[in-house]
């Protein structure tokens, strides 16, 4: 039963990928009559014929000289060879090379942030649920309200200005030589830690509170279940009831949140990266967008989407492991 559920989920993910791949190809082309005319508006005293020659050269250069359907087939054919295309930028680097270069730096921020948010968030959430109605719970609820009103980029700007620029406690933005001089030495790792501190804190503040709030609600819902009452009436310790019975059963919604966070690992820090000059995937995407670098934009979008699809697939498969009723429900 579980096997057929898994196959169905995988096929569904493949189907979603095909749709994403197709949309990823066509969306950038909506509203663009002739990309060549956008690149080179008429110059000097050139005639219509001369201008047409120039536009044709541009189309050939970037592969726009064939029908849109043929362009789509070329795109799919390249994808089957894991070729995301070539960027328009000077030197014509491969899109996959640019992604490979930037991905680790984004993961440094987002994975660290996720680990911090999960551990501290779940701990604080459990505590607040366990101490429901007391000051711990009240603090969390108020913090949650404030955090909802303060987006991460705003927190980042405030931290950058006060802790970075004014008090100079942390680097206000990333050292420009951090990436180029990174060599896995202790000194280089220290530089990365120093520069990552403010971006991670900016992202983590909202994340911790969000996880804590989710955990609190989930734990409270489980605490009201009969089996918790039974566990307590059996004389189990508070800690045992919390860790072995309550938290375990409250995990399903938390796993959903984790899945969603993992899907957003790559693209979730665009603004934070921009504020702190962090050379990651987010800034790569902004760069592609600002320079109309279609192959790069399409490559990043496809990579991010694929990552999200895989993350969602893994989350769904985890559901079935955590709660067998999920597969039964699916069959029904």
């Amino acid at each position: 039963m579980q096997k057929s559920y898994w196959i169905k989920r995988v096929l569904y993910a493949v189907f979603i990928f095909l749709i994403v791949m197709t949309l990823n190809f066509f969306i950038p082309r909506i509203g663009v009559d002739d990309p060549a005319a956008r690149y080179y508006p008429p110059q000097g005293n050139m005639s219509e014929i001369e201008y047409e020659i120039i536009k044709q050269a541009t189309r050939e250069q970037y592969g726009f000289d064939v029908s849109t359907f043929q362009q789509y087939l070329n795109y799919v054919s390249k994808l089957t060879q894991f070729d995301l295309g070539t960027s328009f930028r000077s030197g014509s680097p491969k899109v996959s090379d640019l992604i490979k270069e930037r991905l680790p730096w984004t993961l440094v921020l987002s994975v660290t942030n996720l680990i911090i948010c999960l551990t501290i968030g779940i701990t604080l959430g459990s505590l607040a649920a366990w101490k429901r109605g007391r000051w711990q719970d009240t603090v969390l609820l108020n913090a949650s309200t404030i955090s909802t009103a303060l987006p991460a980029f705003f927190i980042a700007l405030i931290l950058s200005f006060y802790l970075g620029f004014e008090l100079e406690l942390f680097p206000a933005y990333t050292n420009p030589n951090m990436v180029s001089q990174f060599d896995w030495s202790f000194e280089a790792i220290k530089v990365v830690l120093a520069n990552a501190a403010l971006p991670i804190i900016s992202m983590a503040i909202g994340g911790i509170i969000s996880y804590a709030q989710g955990t609190r609600n989930s734990v409270i819902a489980v605490t009201n279940e009969d089996f918790i009452l039974t566990a307590r009436s059996k004389g189990l310790s508070q800690r045992s009831v919390l860790y072995k019975h309550t938290l375990r059963n409250a995990m399903l919604p938390i796993v959903t949140s984790i899945g969603m966070s993992i899907s957003g690992l790559i693209g979730g820090a665009v603004i934070i990266e921009q504020i702190f000059n962090w050379n990651g995937m987010g800034t790569l995407f902004l760069e592609a967008n600002s320079t109309n670098d279609y192959p790069l934009m399409m490559g990043i979008m496809l990579f991010m989407s694929s990552f999200a699809i895989v993350a969602n697939l893994v989350t769904e498969l985890c559901y079935s492991l955590l709660d067998p009723r999920v597969t039964v429900g699916d069959k029904r």
Partner: protein, 618 residues
């Protein structure tokens, strides 16, 4: 287990905080050398420098410092100034310069000789500066110019559509990789056979070009095309490995990353990456300042990348950089004005914001209300209701200038025609006149005071971006005073395709920049061409079109300037693009390390004049 996990994370957090809790060292603060720290706001810096760089971000600035064009163009005087070349002339059929005794071009003779000539081109003689070298020490010669222009026209080798566009006025053509017409002549490339004898001692510095028979033909060739080193590129560029290769060979990539140019600076490769670019002054740069001093005063320039403007502004205020090479909004003025050690540049803008009226929609997009815009008196009434001074005060915090109705900025004193500005200056007079005009055309009003056309309110939409909402709100108030209703409508993400070219709009906001170097192209695009150009309101005026065409094709520069003067009042009296304002270019620099910054129209404080005059504070 969970407890252990939490402990590990807390330990990890402590490490991050303890190592993070140390401010970056900002090298500018302790740098006593002649190094200028320039902040640039961009997504990233280029790390590969294909000689003809992209037009995005900081790339053109870097390109202009590493490479050079033949001449530079002075917008204020309309003259070419020496760069790689020192002189140029149109020549007659015997190869003799067509010049006046003072050395200037004799445009009357030029027109006499070539207007009716069977020749389809204008021959141009160019003389290069002596002693120019590439940054690797190789002498720069006319063969480098030949190579550059030749490969620019040969797309099979260059694979660069921009170069095709830049050289489109050069009568030197390739078809499928084979030369079909030669229009560049040097000692080694057919000058003598063409009837342009070049002496042995001039063979490295003298060359001839055949260009289209219009005065504007030389502008792009002289001032846009960055010259390439033949000795670097000729051995490696082939049809298989093009100059602008989509799949560059290792050697090509090496050359992209280690540029060899003739510009005043060279790239310091090991101190440059995607977030910082370091340029070092060339001590052997051929152009010198007064008393044979170095022309450029700064020895080293470090461009620092900031991806967010607010962060860059704080970096300037806190002394991490000397100059911010970015124009900031007038909303930031108060942030700089109260600060010591800050030089605030409010340069005159060269860009005018206009209200464009859809005066001639395609037939399918016509309706009775839009037809109202065809009436020139109605358009004049709208123009009268716009008070530029008030607009500048309210929307730009007084950081802008009025723009002439002829759309040529008043700062260009030799080319601005005051006869274009005939509307009264008194605000009340203007509104009275506007209402008088409209009372004649549409006397009936509804209960709210808006004018009626066949019992329907005359109401228009103005397409704008969110940033233009404030301007449109002002127009709403002003037009209400003359009984005309306007409403804001968002432009959307692809306005050209969805609204502007298909004529599906009433009015819109559009920027215009007219200068001597671009009038040939821009007057056509804004007032003549009906296809996909900037003539969104599809103005079609025979007299204006003829005048613009004559201006473009005359061989007499004085006549061309006269026509530019005549065109301005014609544009003004059509009331098709109503000028709103020209905003200042606001930028800032610190004065604790450098002084003597220069304010240049249309530029930030980081400009060529600044680099030539700046002084290090001891």
């Amino acid at each position: 287990m969970i407890k252990k996990c939490i402990l590990v994370v807390i330990l990890f957090l402590t490490i991050i905080l303890s190592y993070g809790c140390q401010a970056s060292e900002y090298p500018r603060r302790s740098d006593s050398s002649n190094t200028l720290y320039v902040g640039a706001v961009a997504a990233s810096f280029p790390v590969s420098f294909m000689p003809w760089l992209s037009r995005e971000g900081i790339a053109p600035t870097i390109a202009s410092m590493l490479y050079s064009t033949l001449f530079s163009y002075n917008e204020e005087t309309g003259m070419f100034e020496s760069s790689l070349a020192k002189e140029w002339y149109y020549v007659d059929e015997d190869g003799e310069p067509i010049t006046l005794p003072n050395g200037a071009v004799d445009y009357v003779r030029l027109e006499t000789i070539y207007s009716d000539s069977s020749k389809t081109y204008l021959p141009v003689k160019i003389i290069l500066n002596e002693g120019v070298t590439w940054s690797d020490g190789t002498p720069f010669t006319v063969e480098d110019v030949f190579y550059t222009l030749d490969i620019g026209t040969n797309n099979a080798l260059s694979n660069h559509a921009g170069a095709l566009a830049w050289t489109s006025d050069l009568q030197h053509t390739y078809r499928n990789g084979s030369l079909t017409k030669q229009g560049i002549f040097t000692y080694e490339n057919g000058a003598t056979q063409q009837g342009y004898p070049i002496a042995e001692d001039e063979k490295d510095t003298v060359m001839y070009l055949h260009v289209n028979k219009v005065l504007g033909a030389i502008t792009t060739l002289f001032t846009t095309i960055l010259m390439l080193p033949k000795h670097i590129w000729e051995p490696i560029v082939t049809v298989e490995n093009q100059l602008n290769s989509r799949d560059p060979s290792a050697e090509t990539l090496f050359q992209y990353q280690n540029p060899v140019g003739t510009g005043p600076y060279l790239l310091v490769r090991d101190q440059s990456n995607a977030q910082v670019i370091t340029l070092q002054r060339r001590e052997d740069y051929h152009l010198r300042g007064e008393g044979d001093q170095m022309l450029f005063q700064v020895e080293t320039i470090k461009f620092m990348l900031y991806q967010e403007l607010n962060v860059a502004i704080y970096a300037l205020l806190k002394g991490h950089i000397d100059i911010l090479d970015a124009a900031v909004s007038s909303n930031y003025l108060s942030l700089f004005e109260s600060k010591e050690d800050i030089f605030l540049s409010k340069a005159e803008g060269t860009f005018a914001q206009t209200l464009v009226l859809n005066v001639n929609p395609v037939v399918t997009e016509r309706n009775p209300i839009r037809d109202v815009l065809q009436n020139v008196d109605f358009r004049k009434a709208l123009a009268l209701a716009v008070n530029q001074e008030e607009l500048i005060e309210r929307v730009l915090n007084q950081s802008g200038q009025k723009m002439s109705s002829g759309l040529m900025r008043e700062g260009l004193i030799d080319f601005y025609n005051p006869l274009a500005d005939t509307l009264p200056t008194d605000v009340d007079d203007r509104l009275v006149q506007a209402n008088q005009l409209l009372d004649t055309l549409y006397p009936n009003k509804d209960e709210q005071g808006y004018r009626l056309l066949d019992s329907q309110r005359i109401s228009f939409q103005i397409l704008g971006s969110p940033g233009e909402q404030e301007v449109i709100s002002y127009l709403q108030i002003q037009f209400q005073k003359i009984g005309i209703e306007v409403k804001f409508a968002t432009k959307g993400s692809s306005p050209e395709k969805t609204y502007l070219y298909p004529s599906k709009f009433d009015m819109t906001i559009q920027g215009v920049t007219f200068s001597l170097s671009n009038v040939d192209i821009m007057y056509m695009a804004h007032f003549v061409t009906l296809g996909t150009s900037s003539n969104y309101g599809r103005l079609s005026n025979t007299n204006l079109s003829q005048k613009i065409n004559t201006m473009r094709t005359t061989l007499n520069l004085n006549h061309k300037y006269e026509l530019i003067m005549e065109i301005q009042p014609m544009i003004a009296q059509l009331y098709y693009k109503i000028p709103l304002y020209s905003s200042n270019v606001i930028s800032a620099a610190r004065t604790d390390r450098y002084t003597n910054y220069q304010v240049v129209a249309g530029s930030t404080v980081f400009n060529t004049d600044t680099l030539q005059s700046i002084q290090r504070v001891s």
